[in-house]
Amino acid sequence: MADELRLSTTPEEVFRAPRNQADQPRDVRTHRSADTLATLLSVGWMVSLVCAFWQAATTPKAGNYDVSLPAAFPPTLWWLVLLATVCACGLLLLISQSPTRNIAWLSGFTGVVATNSFILSLPLFRGYAVADRTDAMNHIGYMKDIAITRHLGTQDFYPAQHLLQYALQYVAHTTPGEALIIINITFDFVWVAGITMLAARLAGTPQAKGIGTAFAAPFALLIYQSYTLPSVVSAMLLPVLLAFYLSSRHPEGPGRLSWTVASIALATLLVFYHPVTAIYAVVAFVAWEFGGLVSVREDGAIRLSRESSSTPSNRLGLSIIITVVLLAWAFSFSVITSNTATLLKWLQGEQDRASAIGEASSLVSVSKLPLSQLLSILWNGFGLTAVIPVLTVAMWAYCLRNRARFAFARERLFWRAGVTYFAVLALSGSMFFVSTSERNPIRLLRVDAILGISFLAWWLYYIAVRPELPRSRRAGDVIGLPLRQGWRLAAVALALVAALWFGQRNVYPGPANGQPNQYVSHGELAGMKWLLTHRVRPFRQASILPDYTSRYASYYYGYFGRRALGPGWWRTDLWLPSHFYGDKLRCAASLSRGVRTYLALSEAGRMAPLRLPADVRRYAHIYDVSDWRRLGRDNTVDKVYDNGGFQVWTTSGVGECP
């Protein structure tokens, strides 16, 4: 009777079960305990999140420059969001065994999406005008081009995000900063739902949804998950595309044509979202088909054989579509062709010193940090993203080694995933040595991390979650797991909690990861607007931060409209030396001889070095109180604008120091 009940998954059989508590067998009571626990966990994440909302709403907004956004909120808020995600993920792992608890899964899924969305919306609660002053300002500029000219910018080779921004800003009346955060939050849903769907499709059962959602909960891309960059958010579409593709290829799956249409629409979108991600997609789909050539016999022997079910045209159809659209669209832009030329030169053996690996090694050698601090900063800055590919490869190798034990490791799907992953890993590995616009390790590893999470969820579902061990080994614990499997699940849960902890603490820049808080304050926006409208040509622009004013010019005039500002629009700002004055710079007028120079100074530039450990702060561009006093006494420079957070100074242009 107990076994029958355990196997009963249909409601008819459930209703036939005895109703009296005392008469109920052990498994039914176990279900009751699991239900109670699931309810508690559901209420747990909801209450934690409501409290976190309350705390965020009542925390004062940023008055001066925040060195770190996490530090600006009370620590209890971070404990509350951690508790909310732990409850939601606990619920997901708890119910991932049961085939019949959709509502509980929905609760866990909602918990993960809601909590992550809340964390990603914190810049709005803190009152930031825009959460990122680097690339995001250029994307606002591209969007501004559309608003000013009514057409896409002539250099806009990835217009998808800019059109989404435009729709939100001009149809739904958001601010530019809000539009970016709303897009980021929407893509957080795509990230979680995409990984969940792919894990379920790969595992071949909806029960894998739970672990898929739980694995999508940590911010695996760390600070890049808080920036709304097309390169990163487009990568979040890759698991979705793969899941759609699998749905369209399923021989017995309903709505194959609909899935195919959705796949083609998404593949096209991907090209217009970011061409590099589209290249990753082509490589992944070609590798996926090559992986299908490997099969494993029942005795574990590996051999090459073709699958008879598919014809060449439908095998590579999606790759061909992406390639054709990519060639037709992206290669009409000069920036793409120049990057491709760099790649070709590298393939011919030309060394590239501006590559990511070159830049990273120079940074490490310059930093002169104690090893423990360096490792801590590296771990907080890149650790989680870098660990995922390592874990994925290790897990694939483990499953391969134990293929006699794990049935899924003998399927073609396992090999497809493995070959795809290695191909993507090889592509991103090669990008480390080439100088393109993509240099940050997280940006380079984004696809590896996203696909790795989906694959890990699939494999660990079979290894740690799925109840397939013999009944004799059951331990009769509260959730009815076999003892050995319970340990495995506990290990997965612990790793998940650690990933949640590191992810949430490093999703925003700060002293822990050594990154500057790049937010744009309202004072900066107002000050920059004054500067841009009051500069008189000819002039030279010097700034307290690198590449500073040009991004605000994009913000106000559009990326293309910036060119209309006059000759020399492409010139980058002169980054002011540390302490304003160097050995050869006795007065501000000698910054740029014979030309009037505007100095853009801000709290952001003054406070940003505080993120660095005290030992190495001297290597950064720092400006202390005595430096500001010295600047005030310098009779070759006037102070003409001040709003408390942003100042404009202008030199005489004579170039002679008294």
Binding site: P11, L49, G127, G255, G523, D638
Partner: protein, 313 residues
Amino acid sequence: VKPSDAEGSLRRMTAFGSSKSRAVDVQAVGSPRSEVGWLILMMACYGVLIVFTLGEVAGLTPSGPARVLYAALGVPGIFLGPGAAWVGALWGREAAPEFYERLLVACVLSFALVLGAGLCLSYLFLGVTPISLAGSLCVVEGVGFVISTFRLRPYLAPVRVRLADGDGPHSTYLHPTMLVVSACVVFAAVGAAVYAAEFNHTGERFTAFAVSYKTAAPRAIPFTVNGPTLPLELSLQNRLGRSATYEVQGVVKGETEFWLRSGFVADGASWHRPVTISVPRSSRPVRLEIRLFLEGRQGSYRDLHLWLQRSAR
């Protein structure tokens, strides 16, 4: 439990949904309930987009808490609605994907439709404007909506919906609890967003203070002044979140050159005043201090300065 087709799901609902509706656990995927729910979602999103389009035509610019609500509705209106209509149109009566999968497909299809509409408007038609973009999305969504309604027609018959009541051996009382607490979460989220955006009056409060050269054509302030006087313009912008009164003092060589009082400057308003400075003869540059005082605050609030030298000619 996923019914293979619509009839199957209908039978399932009839079989289990009579007296003890344990629909919580079977949560019929592709069932009439979920199809009707999807239609309601589509209608709501379409309604939002129509309101947005009409708002653009009427030149509506929401402000205050209404703007926050408007922006919040923008997400389903633009990022869900167009795709949701086409999910119904594409899948129709076939066993549709699970609810979260439908939301996901609706999301990415919406992105693709916004992109498609933008590309077409930019390269083929009159250009991208708020009205043209919202209007074209309305048309695309409308077509999808008509096809969906046609394809989902069999589900439009009234369906009696019953919530789980919580007793029974394998029941769960998660459902009603979740409904209540989820509603609290949604209210808390919207309330917190509105409060933070409109009623939390902390944050950056500042006054921008600037000095520029008062000339017909834009010119930078000269370092060497040709005449005995220099025309300047002082300007300030109040972003303190309240009305304020300012005073401005100009000091040259320790002597007050001018003292101005602004009168009340409303929040967000600007104040401009031309002044003429007498530049004394001197062998070295003379420092002109311009100090801004804020009513009720000790000491100067902002300081600007210029170094001036009168030309020998």
